[in-house]
């Protein structure tokens, strides 16, 4: 065999190998945001959805946890290059990276959760967090004995203001005299993973009289719930059901069904039924809600449950219109 021939053979072998690899890699990929996939909140919900897909179909998926913002585009491109389908990203910060990469790989199906990217191969899933937050606001106002409640957000962005604004509206609708303390953890991605600071923020609100503290802060929220439990008051979880973290001290959790969004996207591609475009999941679609399980059933009185159910029905029917902070960047109440 001449050198040229052997080179050609080698090249051919490599191509076949690459082809086989690409086929093997046609399974889904998920990219988790800075909080990490075990933040027991937003990212973990997505993780749960992906795990459920794997359990039901036996198809494995690839995943990646971002360590810093610079990796966003790189990670996304790498998964697309390796032929993963769909590629799912979590977090509002993925907008611009998705915009760029989705155009480079028109045959790949992309899913972006928490922000909107207008591309023919991208499904954007956003949630009506203000509606779910309104309901936990109603519950918080009814559970509070001091008439003071708190909110701790992660990174100071419109999305988190949307949580805060919905929550305040729910509180004020139930108890117009209630006072709501609001705090944001920070202005960078690190704000999603700083439980020490989260705990200190919650403590400062509890010191001022708050006896229910709601967090929308990813991994930072673990510190918030811990501080609330330590002080013997109530915390409210977010995204995933966090009632189990401190049974008896987590009043409820505002559920954001990121798990369903992730699972559904994987299933749709699996069944060849993937659609691009914007999906808005609100109370009506059961995309948001509040958690009631054996850990908090003693904390929720029948009156509270009734009030929350009524508010839910009214929001769905349009009788109560919860203001969405992200539409105009302002909140009517504070």
């Amino acid at each position: 065999m001449t050198f040229g021939k052997s080179l050609a053979v080698a090249a051919l072998t490599m191509m076949t190998a690459a082809g086989a690899q690409a086929q093997e890699a046609a399974n889904p990929a998920v990219i988790f945001d800075l909080g990490g996939k075990f933040d027991r909140s937003f990212n973990q919900a997505s993780y749960d959805g992906a795990e459920r897909f794997t359990k039901e179909t036996g198809i494995a998926y690839e995943s990646f946890e971002l360590q810093n913002d610079a990796q966003r585009e790189q990670a996304l491109r790498r998964f697309a290059e390796r032929g993963h389908n769909p590629v799912i990203t979590n977090g509002f910060s993925y907008g611009s990276a998705m915009e760029t990469v989705s155009q480079e790989f028109p045959d790949t199906d992309f899913v972006v959760i928490d922000t909107v990217v207008e591309q023919p191969n991208v499904r954007s899933v956003v949630f009506n967090e203000h509606e779910g937050s309104y309901l936990v606001g109603v519950l918080a106002a009814m559970a509070s004995k001091t008439g003071k409640v708190g909110f701790v957000g992660g990174m100071d962005i419109p999305l988190i203001q949307k949580f805060a604004c919905g929550y305040v509206q729910g509180v004020k609708a139930t108890n117009p005299d209630a006072e709501v303390f609001q705090a944001m953890t920070g202005t960078t991605g690190a704000a999603w993973n700083d439980p020490v600071r989260g705990g200190e923020l919650a403590k400062s609100q509890i010191d001022r009289g708050a006896d229910v503290v709601y967090h929308a802060a990813g991994g930072t929220g673990i510190g918030v719930l811990q501080a609330a439990a330590d002080a013997g008051v109530y915390g409210i979880g977010v995204d995933s059901n966090q009632n189990y973290l401190h049974p008896g001290h987590v009043l409820t959790s505002m559920l954001k069904r990121v798990d369903v969004a992730t699972y559904q996207a994987m299933m749709d591609v699996h069944n060849g039924a993937f659609t691009a475009g914007v999906q808005v999941l609100g109370l009506k679609e059961d995309g948001v809600g509040w958690a009631l399980d054996e850990n908090n059933k003693d904390l929720i009185t029948p009156e509270m449950q009734k009030a929350a159910d009524e508010a839910r029905a009214k929001i769905i029917s349009g009788e109560i219109l919860v203001h969405d902070y992200s539409t105009d960047g302002a909140c009517p109440v504070s």
Binding site: D194, P195, E200, S204, I222
Partner: protein, 322 residues
């Protein structure tokens, strides 16, 4: 701002200043002996991980504390071997320790617990809980003294008090004992100490190991006192703030306490007042409040501190004349 708010702020400052203070004193011992230590951050991080991990595994916060001290001391020993025995560059060794700790904690954490580099949540017996001092609630009605006793003096965990006690202890050791005198001398003029027939190497190792001990307590405080578990990069630059405080304090124990309390207070204010309205100027943005500790560090170090002279032999390995 009423009296109760001031007390809450003071309490919060104290809690936030504790890890800074312990790390700052650790740096003080090491640097006073002539060994620069920018690995405070890494040692704290390793200790925070070890403390939380062992507390979670064994169920005892005290074993966690010991594990934290052991982890931090191990890194100190590496720093000692590199910079004292092998006469390497102390800054490079410190940087290496920071990287080593950042990588190892996440890796080992993932391997042990499979939670993405975190440890499990710690329960009540696995954490240092706040201690209520006797009669704290009974004395509350007493004006001024009652609330101060209840909110500021009582109600912190034991490591906070330990850190505060470490300040007079450090002062006494450095300025009132023979060991302290020699330690300070070895950072200024090791040749003179050597001439007096005292081992420079042994003194420097002792200083570095004391630094390891204090960083270990600081790390354990972060993960088992302030928080309830370890998360990646949880020291978040506290080791470097502690170094800034050390320079600000000009390598002296009592000013170190003041500097650390100042940084703690700034952070507490940043947490408490996210949007301050100043009459005539409008609202001070949150970003400014959160950046304030760092801005102040730069300002203080750049001008207001006066001339900060480090120990004269600092950073230089001691080579015996032949």
């Amino acid at each position: 701002m009423d009296f109760a708010t001031v007390l809450q702020l003071a309490g919060s400052s104290l809690r936030l200043a504790t890890p800074l203070l312990l790390a700052c004193l650790a740096g003080l011992y090491s640097e006073r002996a002539g060994i620069f230590d920018i690995g405070l951050e890494g040692k704290m991080l390793a200790a925070a991980f070890a403390a939380a991990a062992f507390a979670a595994i064994t169920g005892s916060v005290w074993i966690g504390l010991l594990a934290g001290i052991a982890a931090s001391s191990a890194l100190s020993l590496i720093h000692g071997v590199a910079s004292i025995t092998l006469k390497g560059n102390q800054l490079i060794s410190g940087v290496a320790i920071n990287f080593l700790a950042a990588g190892l904690t996440a890796l080992v954490g993932q391997n042990w617990f499979g939670l993405g580099g975190q440890t499990p949540q710690l329960g009540p017996g696995q954490r240092f809980l706040a201690i209520e001092w006797p009669l704290a609630d009974a004395l509350l009605p007493v004006p001024v003294i009652g609330p101060i006793y209840r909110h500021l003096i009582s109600g912190h965990n034991i490591l906070v008090y330990l850190a505060l006690l470490a300040v007079p202890a450090t002062w006494w050791i450095l300025y009132r004992t023979r060991f302290g005198l020699r330690l300070r001398a070895v950072g200024e003029n090791p040749a003179a100490v050597d001439t007096a027939g005292i081992s420079v190497v042994r003194l420097r190792y002792a200083a570095v190991m004391i630094a390891g001990l204090l960083c270990g307590i600081a790390g354990a405080y972060l993960s088992t006192g302030m928080a309830a578990g370890f998360v990646r990069e949880m020291t978040a630059g506290k080791g470097f703030i502690a170094l800034a405080a050390l320079i600000f304090a000009k390598w002296r124990p009592w000013p170190a306490l003041g500097a650390c309390l100042l940084f703690g207070a700034l952070e507490a204010i940043g947490i408490r007042y996210q949007a301050i309205t100043i009459p005539g100027l409008g609202v001070v943005p949150v970003q400014f409040m959160q950046a304030l500790p760092y801005i102040l560090t730069v300002v203080i170090l750049a001008g207001f501190v006066g001339k900060a002279v480090p120990p004269r032999a600092g950073g230089r390995p001691y080579v015996k004349e032949r």
